[in-house]
């Protein structure tokens, strides 16, 4: 039976990896991911999790070890953050290119310089094109649940792709909160043992990581692209299965009070809940406002997004990262391109906030709405504005 527990979200993430019976964990500690791998290291050392913990000397080695162990057919986990994720960069493409079902928890943090250990999304936004499935959690419970879902999706023979679960550094990783912790039997019922489609086995040799000559490289990339696109129905299917078994449902795009709303905030990650409460308060003040949350970032669920915003007049895209030299943050840039290709012409605003751990409050959301109301009335787009810059 599941138990209601109070737990730091990082520890819940590690406990989820234990429930998933990971075989190999290769990781290098980096704030704010540290508690996740510390706890896993403890679980392995104390004999609570029968896994190989590989304390590598860098994140590049962590992902390299993960590639090797997943290729050998082991259920493989790692976790990183910021500069650590950046140091993995070249190996991340290899993990997806080789179709290896590695699961990684990314404790989202800003990239230096200046040195910052605090939260934003600049680490994962720099890794948008790695070919991994990418999801975002908003609460501790979601971190726990998305970890189980991540292994289920990654190892599904129809998918065979690595999955990154994003959780905001500190804002989620370092918070103690209540959650439902499934027991081992429940986790096992959802996630059966990993049966690799193919693995490195001296008894039945295969080659992995071959050279892709110009005659085949394009085709290999096309195949990887299709694999990521085709993971979409499987991702949904396993969320539906999760809801049936655990009673908690997840969607690629989540909506809150979008019916009859003129203006919608579009958020990702831990801003979701604060924005939701801000929406409640703005509604009390008579504002016609709602919220859309992007849970599945890759593959991006175009149709779900378009359905979620169908009734709205104005969209407010919240970015937690910059895309220097381009007119807007990464989320807004992509979403505007999507609207254009779908022939949807509507007012959009982009706000970049919460960089390097700057708090984002209900008051900030109210301020954004006020600006949007004024700009929309005047017919001026808010191309991109950084919130709260001290000038």
């Amino acid at each position: 039976m599941a138990r209601r527990v109070g737990l730091e979200v990082s520890l819940a993430c590690a406990e989820a990896v234990k429930l998933c019976n990971a075989d190999v964990i290769a990781a290098y500690p980096i704030t704010p991911q540290t508690h996740i791998v510390e706890h896993l290291s403890e679980l392995v050392a104390d004999g609570h999790l029968d896994a190989e913990f590989v304390p590598v000397e860098s994140e590049h080695s962590a992902m390299s070890a993960c590639v090797g162990s997943a290729a050998a057919g082991a259920r493989t986990f790692t976790s990183s953050s910021a500069q650590g994720l950046a140091l993995m960069h070249e190996m991340l493409f290899i993990a997806s290119g080789l179709r290896l079902p590695i699961v990684m928890a990314v404790a989202n943090r800003s990239l230096s310089a200046p040195i910052s250990i605090w939260n934003d999304h600049s680490d994962i936004m720099a890794e948008r094109d790695i070919g991994w499935v990418q999801t975002f959690a908003e609460t501790g419970q979601e971190v726990l649940d998305l970890m189980l879902h991540a292994f289920k999706v990654a190892e599904d023979p129809r998918v065979c792709l690595p999955v990154a679960v994003n959780l905001d550094g500190f804002i989620l990783t370092h918070v103690i909160e209540p959650m439902e912790m499934p027991d081992q039997a429940e986790a096992d019922a959802y996630l059966p043992p990993f049966v690799p489609s193919q693995s490195l086995d001296p008894a039945a040799p295969v080659s992995m990581g071959m050279v892709g000559m110009p005659e085949v490289y394009t085709e290999a990339k096309k195949a990887a692209l299709v694999a990521l696109e085709d993971s979409y129905p499987v991702i949904k299917e396993h969320w539906e299965g999760f809801a049936e078994q655990f009673g908690r449902s997840y969607k690629p795009i989540e909506t809150y009070r979008t019916e009859d709303a003129d203006t919608l905030f579009v958020t990702m990650g831990s801003l979701g809940e604060t924005c939701m409460t801000a929406v409640d308060e703005m509604r009390q003040d008579g504002k016609s406002v709602g919220q859309v949350r992007i849970r599945l970032w890759r593959p991006f669920p175009d149709e779900d997004f378009m359905a979620a915003i169908a009734g709205a007049k104005n969209l407010i895209f919240i970015d937690r990262a910059l895309s220097p030299g381009v007119a807007a943050g990464p989320v807004a840039t992509e979403m505007r391109a999507l609207l254009y290709t779908k022939g949807k012409n509507m007012f959009t605003a982009n706000f970049v906030c919460g960089l390097g751990g700057r708090d984002v409050t209900r008051t900030d959301f109210a301020g954004m709405l006020a600006k949007v109301e004024a700009a929309a009335a005047a017919g001026n787009e808010i191309t991109c504005e950084m919130v709260g810059v001290k000038e």
Partner: protein
């Protein structure tokens, strides 16, 4: 929802006391969040920890700007100016101090409801160290009734093991010795 801000110094266990409260509240079936002031920890430096307790799910991830309760673990922090910032006028200050109420009010500038206990003395006598985090929980529970006194016992035992009993005794002594000025 009740919001609490803890003021302590690195190494005094402010984060632990916020955590213990959250765990106890969750055990009671309530909703709770405990989190540190995010960042690197420096021993002796002033730091804050935060706690929310509610009967409803908590859908907020912003910091606490207008606490209902401020708890001060270290008497030397009372006069540094940060204690009363944002504290609601009808809120409660729970402070560790050996001084009389007038002196504490003079130091921190908060004129509202105040709960006082000499936690440093109690911690020295009961624990043998000037670490007041568990002791001050006794004062917090007396002043707030946020959770039942007995609810903190489980998390305390789990966290402190062999030395839990001493901490429990200190906590209870503080609970009994806390004076509340309305």
């Amino acid at each position: 929802m009740i919001e609490v801000r803890f003021h302590g110094r690195g190494g005094q266990g402010a984060v632990t006391s916020a955590e213990l409260m959250a765990l106890a509240a969750i055990e009671e079936g309530k909703y709770a969040q405990a989190f540190p002031s995010f960042g690197p920890e420096r021993r002796g430096a002033p730091l804050q920890a935060f706690l929310r307790i509610s009967d409803e799910p908590i859908r907020l991830r912003e910091k606490i700007y207008e606490p209902d309760i401020v708890l001060v673990l270290d008497p030397s922090l009372l006069a540094t100016g940060g204690v009363k910032i944002g504290l609601k006028p009808h809120g409660t200050l729970v402070a560790n101090s050996a001084k009389p109420i007038e002196a504490v009010r003079g130091e921190c500038g908060f004129e509202g409801r105040t709960a006082l206990v000499d936690a440093s003395l109690i911690a020295e006598e009961e624990l043998g160290v000037p670490i007041t985090n568990t002791t001050m929980l006794g004062a917090l529970l007396k002043a707030s009734g946020l959770i039942a006194l007995d609810s903190i016992k489980g998390p305390l035992d789990h966290r402190f093991g062999k030395i839990a009993e001493k901490n429990w005794k200190a906590l209870n002594r503080a609970y009994n010795e806390t004076i509340i000025e309305e």
